[in-house]
C-alpha cells in the first residue's frame, strides 16, 4: 500500500469512527477521479467525512447547503457590475473549489441540481458564455437524504450516473457510539486535522492508479458482469459503458488502496455495489443493493466454458 494513502485513511478513521470500509471506498473514489454520493439520514456523519477528507488531502474545500429555493447562480457564481471599473466582475461561486461538498443535494430543485451537471462532468463552468476551468483536482461529494423523506427532489438519472460511487454510512455500532458520545465533537476534530498529503501528491497517486494492471481475465469478468446486467432481465435498464469504465476504474483504485499493482475479482466485487447500486433498478422493484448482490452471484468469476 502506498503509505501516504494509508496515513490519510487512518487519519480520517480517527475522526469518523468505525467506518473504515466507507472511508476506504471514499478515498478510492477520489483516487479514481470520481465524484461521491453519500446517502444517509441526517446526522450520520456525512459532512464530517467530507470535511475530513478535504482536510487530509489539503484540498480547497467549500460546502454548500442545498435548499429548495436555491438558484444555479448560488453554486456557479454571478457577475456583478462594478461601478468603479465599469465592468462586470465575476464573483466565483462555491463550485470553484477543489472539493465541493454539496450537502443534501436532493433538497434543491432539478434546475439547480442541473447546474452541477456540467461542472461534474466537464470539470468546467460556463458563465456568461465564457468557459472557465475548475481547479485541479476537482471532486464533488454530495450527500443526500433518502428519497422517501419529505421535501426532497429525486436526482435525475443523468446526474446519478455522474457519481462514481454511492455509499451510505449507517448507524454506528454500540462500541463506536460509546466512543463517539464520550469524546468531543467530531466536527471540531475535522477542522483541527492536519493535512497528510498535498494536493500535488494526490494528483501523483491518481496517476499511479491508472497504471494498476487489469488482466484480460479480469476485464473479461467485468464485461460478463455488464453483459449479464443487460441480458438477464434482472434490471429495468442494464449498466452503461460509462458504468463499466467506472467499475474498472474504481476497482483499480481499490486495488491501489489495498497496496496491489494489479486488480483481482475481489476488488471488483467490493466496489460493485457502491458503483452500480445507484445506476440500476431491479425489475422487481426491490432494493437496488439486493439486485447488485444478485448480479454478483449470477456471474462466475472464472469462465466455465
Amino acid at each position: 500500500m502506498s503509505t501516504t494513502i494509508g496515513r490519510a485513511i487512518s487519519a480520517v478513521s480517527s475522526v469518523v469512527l468505525g467506518k473504515d470500509e466507507q472511508i476506504r471506498l471514499a478515498v478510492a473514489c477520489m483516487l479514481a477521479r470520481g465524484h461521491l454520493l453519500i446517502e444517509d439520514l441526517p446526522g450520520m456523519g456525512k459532512t464530517t467525512l467530507a470535511h475530513a477528507l478535504a482536510r487530509v488531502f489539503s484540498l480547497d474545500y467549500r460546502r454548500v447547503q442545498f435548499t429548495s429555493d436555491m438558484l444555479p447562480a448560488d453554486i456557479l457564481g454571478v457577475s456583478i457590475y462594478d461601478p468603479d471599473t465599469r465592468q462586470f466582475q465575476l464573483r466565483q461561486g462555491p463550485v470553484f473549489a477543489q472539493l465541493l461538498l454539496a450537502d443534501e443535494v436532493n433538497r434543491a430543485t432539478p434546475k439547480t441540481q442541473g447546474a452541477l451537471l456540467e461542472a461534474m462532468e466537464e470539470r468546467q463552468v460556463t458563465l456568461d458564455g465564457v468557459s472557465r476551468p475548475l481547479p485541479e483536482p476537482f471532486f464533488v461529494i454530495a450527500t443526500q437524504n433518502p428519497v422517501t423523506q419529505a421535501g426532497t427532489f429525486p436526482l435525475p438519472e443523468s446526474q446519478l450516473d455522474r457519481f462514481l460511487m454511492r455509499i451510505s454510512l449507517g448507524y454506528p455500532s454500540a462500541e463506536t457510539e460509546l466512543a463517539l458520545l464520550s469524546g468531543s465533537d467530531r466536527r471540531d476534530h475535522a477542522s483541527t486535522m492536519k493535512p497528510e498529503i498535498s494536493s500535488a501528491e494526490l494528483m501523483q497517486q491518481m496517476e499511479l492508479v491508472g497504471k494498476v494492471h487489469a488482466s484480460a481475465d479480469l476485464i473479461d469478468y467485468v464485461q460478463r458482469l455488464l453483459a449479464h446486467s443487460r441480458d438477464s432481465g434482472l434490471f429495468v435498464v442494464g449498466l452503461s459503458p460509462r458504468a463499466g469504465l467506472g467499475l474498472l476504474r474504481a476497482a483499480r483504485a481499490w486495488a491501489f488502496v489495498a497496496g496491489r499493482d494489479y486488480v483481482t475479482p475481489e476488488d471488483v466485487q467490493v466496489v460493485l455495489g457502491p458503483v452500480t447500486a445507484h445506476r440500476i433498478q431491479a425489475s422487481t422493484g426491490g432494493a437496488s443493493a439486493t439486485s447488485t448482490q444478485q448480479l454478483l452471484e449470477a456471474v462466475p468469476v472464472v469462465r466455465r466454458s
Binding site: S215, L218, V263, T264, E266, E297, V301, V302
Partner: protein, 691 residues
C-alpha cells in the same frame, strides 16, 4: 553466417519414439543384425540429445552406411526387391536419425518414418497390424506437430493430443477415399513373398505331405453361404487333381495331346465343347457362396463340385476345379455357384482313359496289382469291384493315424499288406492304384474336407488341418464319381473332422499349447470372435478390390461412369467439409478456456466432489477460505495454490509460464492428497451439535 533452423528440443521424444515404432515390425521380421543395429543407433541418438555424446562426423557415418549395405547384401544377397529394400531402408532410416540436426533433416526423418510404416503393409495386412500402424502414425504426426510448434517448453503430450485429433479428423476423409476413389490394378507386380513358402496344397503329393499340413492350424479360407450350409459329409472342397503316378508321388499333369485352351476355360476366352455341355445341362445351383481365401502363393481355388464363378480372372478346368490366372499373393475372394450334377456328358476320350489308367511301367507293387486283377475278374462290374474294395478297407485292420511308418520301394504293397497304418493320402493313393490296376480310370482329388461353422458370422472356417485327399473314378454311365477310402476306414473324419477321428485312435493333430488351448471353452469362443473380426476385415477391407468397388458403387450410382464417381466424391467430400466447417464455427463462437482456467475448474470440481459447497461467483480467495474450513490439513497448499493462480490470472508480468503451470498443477495435486476429513464431519453439523 546463415541461420540454422534447429530441431526444437520438445520434438525429440516423439521423433525418436516414432522412429522406433515405425521400425519395430521390421525388426521383428527382418534379419537379426537389424534388430540389434536399429535400437543401438536410436539409443545413440538419444544420448546425443542428452548431451552425453557428440554428433558423429562424416568419417563415422560413411563407413556405417557401407556396413549397413554390406550386411543387407550378406543377409538377402541383394539390395533390391521388397525384403532387402525394406531392410536397407530401415537401417538407413536409423542412420539418418544420427545426422538429424537441422529442421529439414527432421522433415526427412518424418517422411521416412511414414514410408517405413507403410512398407509394413507389404508383409501383413491384418486388423492388428493396421491398428498398430494407426497408433504409430499418431506418434509420427506428433513429431511433425512438435517441430512446427514455435512455443518452447511445451509438454509433448499436447503434441500427441493434437496429432491424435488430426488423425481422427482425417478418418472420415480416408473412408471416403477408400470407398470412392477408383481402384486401379497395380502398375507392376511386387513379388513380396518370394522367400515365403507357398502354403496349402501343392501340385504334387507324396506320402507324408498331407499329414504335415494337418498339423497346421492356419486358415486356408472362409466361406460365407448365401442360404443353407451343406452338411459336413458334403463339404468336399476340391482344389486340384493328381492324374500322374510315378510309383511314389502323385502329381498334377496334362497328357501331351491336350492343349491348354481346351483344358481351361476363362470368361471372355474361347469356350471348349465340354464347357458348353456343362452349361447346357446344369439346372439350379445347389449352393451359392463366397469364398475369401488367404494368401497361398498358388493358383488353386477351392469350391464344391461343380463350381461356376463369374470373376474375370477365375477359370474352370476340365477336371472341374477353379483356377486363378495368377498366383494368390494377397487375400482373394470369389463368388461361386455349385451344381450337384452328374458329369458323364464330358465323355472320356481315349487319351483321357489312357492317362487316367496309366501306372508306372516296371512291375512295382506286384501283390496289389495281382489282387486288383483277380478281384476285378471275379466282380460283376466296376461298381461291384469298388464296393468290395471299400468294404475290405473298412473291415480289415486299418488304422487312421498321423504318424504312419515309413514306406519302402513298393509303397502300395507295403501299406496294404504290411503296415496298414496311414493317413488319407495313403488310403487315397493305394485306392486309386487299385482302381487303375483293375483298369478303372481314377484320379486323386486334393482339397479340404469339412470346416468349422462360426456361429457369429455364420460362415465356414476351413483350416489347413482340414486338408484332405480322396479319389474320383470314371464309371460308365455315371461319369466321374467320388470315393473316399478314408471315410471307409475312419467315418468320423468325414462327419466330425480330424480331431474327433484322431481321438478315436488316441492321437491329436495339434500338439503343444495350441492343442491344449483348443479344449478350453473360453479360448474357443475368443478364437471364434477373432475369426469373425478377421473375416470381416478380409471381406470388407482387404477384399475390397476393383470389382467389388464397381459392384458396390453401381448399387448406389446406378451405372458407374467417371462423371458420376467424381460427383459422388465431391458430394460426400462436400458434406464432410461442411460438417467440419460448422464444427469449427461452433468452436470459434465459444472461446476456449485457457489452461489456468481449466486448472481452476479442475480444482473447484475436485473440491465440490469432496463436499465443499462452492458457488461460481466465489473468488479464489473465498474458495480457499471455505475449503480450508472443511479440510484444515489442506490449508497451506490451498493458499499457495490461490496465490499461484492469482499471479497467473491477474498479475501483469508472468515470466516462465511453464514453471507456473507445473507449479499450479503440482499444488492442485498436493491439495488433492491433503483433502482428508478431520474427525468432525463438517462445521455446520458441529455447530448444530453445540447448539
Amino acid at each position: 553466417m546463415a541461420r540454422v533452423y534447429q530441431v526444437p528440443r520438445h520434438a525429440f521424444p516423439w521423433l525418436l519414439a516414432g522412429a522406433l515404432l515405425a521400425s519395430l515390425p521390421h525388426l521383428w521380421r527382418g534379419p537379426l543384425w537389424l534388430a540389434v543395429v536399429v535400437p543401438v543407433l536410436l539409443g545413440w541418438r538419444t544420448l546425443i540429445q542428452r548431451g552425453v555424446l557428440a554428433m558423429p562426423g562424416k568419417l563415422i557415418r560413411f563407413p556405417l552406411l557401407l556396413a549397413v549395405i554390406g550386411a543387407t547384401l550378406y543377409s538377402h544377397g541383394t539390395v533390391l526387391g521388397p525384403e532387402a529394400g525394406v531392410t536397407l531402408l530401415v537401417a538407413a532410416f536409423a542412420l539418418k536419425m544420427l545426422e538429424m540436426f537441422r529442421l529439414r533433416d527432421a522433415y526427412v526423418a518424418i517422411i521416412l518414418a511414414s514410408f517405413v510404416l507403410a512398407t509394413t503393409f507389404l508383409f501383413s495386412r491384418d486388423p492388428l497390424t493396421t491398428l498398430y500402424i494407426g497408433v504409430a502414425l499418431v506418434v509420427v504426426m506428433a513429431a511433425l506437430v512438435g517441430i512446427n510448434d514455435p512455443e518452447s517448453g511445451v509438454s509433448p503430450w499436447r503434441h500427441l493430443r493434437q496429432s491424435g485429433l488430426m488423425i481422427l479428423q482425417a478418418l472420415p476423409l480416408m473412408l471416403v477415399f477408400f470407398v470412392l476413389v477408383p481402384r486401379m490394378p497395380p502398375l507392376w507386380n511386387l513379388q513380396v513373398n518370394q522367400q515365403q513358402a507357398k502354403t496349402g496344397m501343392s501340385d504334387s503329393m507324396s506320402p507324408g505331405e498331407i499329414s504335415r499340413l494337418s498339423r497346421q492350424s492356419g486358415i486356408a479360407f472362409r466361406v460365407e453361404f448365401d442360404g443353407e450350409v451343406p452338411p459336413p459329409a458334403q463339404r468336399y472342397w476340391r482344389g486340384l487333381t493328381y492324374g500322374w503316378f510315378d510309383g511314389r508321388r502323385w502329381s498334377q499333369a496334362l497328357p501331351p495331346e491336350v492343349r491348354q485352351q481346351e483344358y481351361l476355360r476363362f470368361p471372355n476366352g474361347p469356350s471348349p465343347e465340354w464347357y458348353e455341355r456343362l452349361l447346357a445341362e446344369r439346372g439350379e445351383p445347389d449352393w451359392r457362396y463366397r469364398v475369401v481365401m488367404e494368401r497361398t502363393g498358388q493358383q488353386w481355388l477351392y469350391a464344391l463340385s461343380v463350381p461356376f464363378s463369374n470373376r474375370q480372372e477365375v477359370g474352370l478346368a476340365r477336371d472341374l476345379r477353379l483356377v486363378r490366372r495368377t498366383d494368390i499373393e494377397s487375400t482373394f475372394d470369389y463368388q461361386v455357384d455349385s451344381y450337384q450334377m452328374p458329369v458323364a456328358h464330358q465323355g472320356l476320350p481315349e487319351w483321357e482313359r489312357r492317362f487316367y489308367t496309366s501306372l508306372p511301367q516296371e512291375g512295382g507293387n506286384p501283390r496289389a496289382t495281382q489282387m486288383a486283377k483277380d478281384w476285378r475278374a471275379s466282380a460283376t462290374g466296376d461298381g461291384a469291384y469298388i464296393t468290395r474294395l471299400l468294404l475290405w478297407f473298412n473291415q480289415e485292420e486299418f488304422y487312421y493315424t498321423l504318424e504312419p511308418p515309413l514306406l519302402g520301394e513298393n509303397t502300395v504293397d507295403e501299406f496294404l499288406f504290411r503296415t496298414r497304418r496311414g493317413f488319407c493320402e495313403h488310403y487315397a493313393s493305394s485306392f486309386a492304384f487299385m482302381l487303375r490296376a483293375a483298369g478303372i480310370p481314377a484320379r486323386i482329388v486334393a482339397g479340404y474336407q469339412g470346416g468349422e461353422l462360426n456361429p457369429l458370422g455364420n460362415h465356414l472356417l476351413v483350416r489347413q488341418y482340414d486338408a484332405h485327399v480322396w479319389v474320383e473314378a470314371w464309371l460308365p454311365g455315371q461319369g466321374w464319381v467320388e470315393f473316399d477310402p478314408t471315410g471307409a476306414v475312419a467315418p468320423t473324419r468325414i462327419e466330425q473332422g480330424l480331431d474327433a477321428a484322431l481321438a478315436e485312435y488316441g492321437e491329436s493333430a495339434l500338439t503343444g499349447l495350441a492343442g491344449a488351448l483348443r479344449g478350453v471353452p473360453l479360448f474357443a469362443r475368443l478364437s471364434l470372435l477373432a475369426d469373425y473380426i478377421e473375416f470381416g476385415w478380409a471381406k470388407w477391407v482387404l477384399g475390397y478390390s476393383q470389382q467389388n468397388q464397381l459392384e458396390f458403387l453401381s448399387r448406389w450410382l446406378g451405372k458407374v461412369t467417371p462423371q458420376r464417381m467424381v460427383m459422388a466424391l465431391a458430394a460426400v467430400g462436400g458434406v464432410i467439409m461442411l460438417a467440419m466447417l460448422l464444427w469449427m464455427l461452433w468452436r470459434v463462437r465459444r472461446p476456449r478456456l485457457v489452461w489456468w482456467q481449466r486448472e481452476h475448474r479442475r480444482m473447484t470440481q475436485m473440491l465440490s466432489r469432496r463436499g465443499v459447497p462452492l458457488a461460481p461467483h466465489l473468488t479464489s480467495a473465498q474458495i480457499v477460505q471455505i475449503a480450508s474450513e472443511y479440510f484444515p490439513a489442506a490449508g497451506q497448499p490451498l493458499q499457495d495454490w490461490q496465490r499461484c493462480y492469482d499471479t497467473i490470472a491477474y498479475r501483469k508480468e508472468i515470466t516462465e509460464p511453464m514453471v507456473l503451470r507445473r507449479q499450479l498443477r503440482r499444488l492442485r495435486r498436493l491439495v488433492g492428497r491433503r483433502l482428508i476429513r478431520p474427525i468432525r464431519l463438517n462445521p455446520k453439523t458441529d455447530l448444530q451439535r453445540e447448539a
